[in-house]
Amino acid sequence: MTVTPGWYMALAAVLFVIGAAGVLLRRNALVMFMSVELMLNAVNLTFVAAGRQLNLLDGQVSVLFVMVVAAAEVVVGLAIIVTVFRRRATASVDELAELKG
């Protein structure tokens, strides 16, 4: 029994769904943010597996770019979370409801 790239992509789909569930079900902003990271990682695994299936290196280069963007996103996002915490002393997204109609 050999492992085809499709197995990795199936696993990546399941990991993506778990990350999406984390974003939709949790209300701690930090855990939601980690779930977004998990979704990005799942897509990275898809890129690498598809690159292996198609014999193209571009998948792995795309993963590097996703990592750069994710790193920038983590820095700015965590800065925003810390700033909100300094103003409100909460990390729960339910208590940040100023835009509620």
Binding site: T2, L11, A13, V17, I18, L30, M34, G51, L57, L64
Partner: protein, 173 residues
């Protein structure tokens, strides 16, 4: 055979880490579960001939990003449990049903064909530093330069938030 064993072991590890990340009440446990998943993904990159990407995964994600997460978790406190009661009564079952449909659709579609297109190059992909570097500084040099700009903007924005973001007066800075 080796790849099958590696896949099964680290797939279970990755799924366990991901589920524990979503499930854990303590954000520190969430961060550790995510770290486990990221290490497992690095193993998968190695099995898919992405050696350099695997090294970058360990250094950047498991090293830098998760350390940053742990710092912020420690900074803003881990002792407050979030209550798990939901304001919208149907949100949780609806979420699970929709995500289950999504996962089922992807898996059913993938069982037919995971990738489309023709495989033109014949030699298998090999993600060494030399190959990645040639691709990165050849075809991808313009996106590479743009990411440098992106990182500078992110660093400047973070510094601005750290200096001016915490003022008590509204619209301060």
């Amino acid at each position: 055979m080796v790849e099958t064993v590696l896949f099964v072991v680290f797939a279970i590890t990755a799924l366990g880490g991901a589920i524990s990340m979503v499930w854990a009440r303590n954000p520190v446990y969430s961060a550790l579960g995510l770290m486990l998943t990221m290490f497992s993904l690095a193993v998968f990159y190695v099995s898919n001939a992405g050696h350099f990407v695997a090294v970058v995964q360990v250094i950047v994600y498991a090293g830098a990003v998760m350390t940053l997460f742990l710092f912020v978790i420690m900074l803003i406190g881990v002792d407050k449990d979030e209550d798990r009661s939901e304001d919208i009564p149907f949100q949780r079952p609806l979420t699970l049903i929709l995500l289950g449909l999504f996962a089922g659709g992807v898996l059913v579609a993938g069982a037919r064909a995971w990738t489309t297109g023709t495989v033109s190059p014949t030699e298998p992909v090999n993600g060494t530093i030399e190959a990645i570097g040639e691709s990165l500084f050849g075809d991808w040099v313009l996106p590479f330069e743009v990411t440098a700009l992106l990182l500078i903007i992110a660093a400047a924005g973070t510094i601005a938030l750290a200096f001016f973001g915490g003022d008590d007066e509204e619209g301060g800075s």
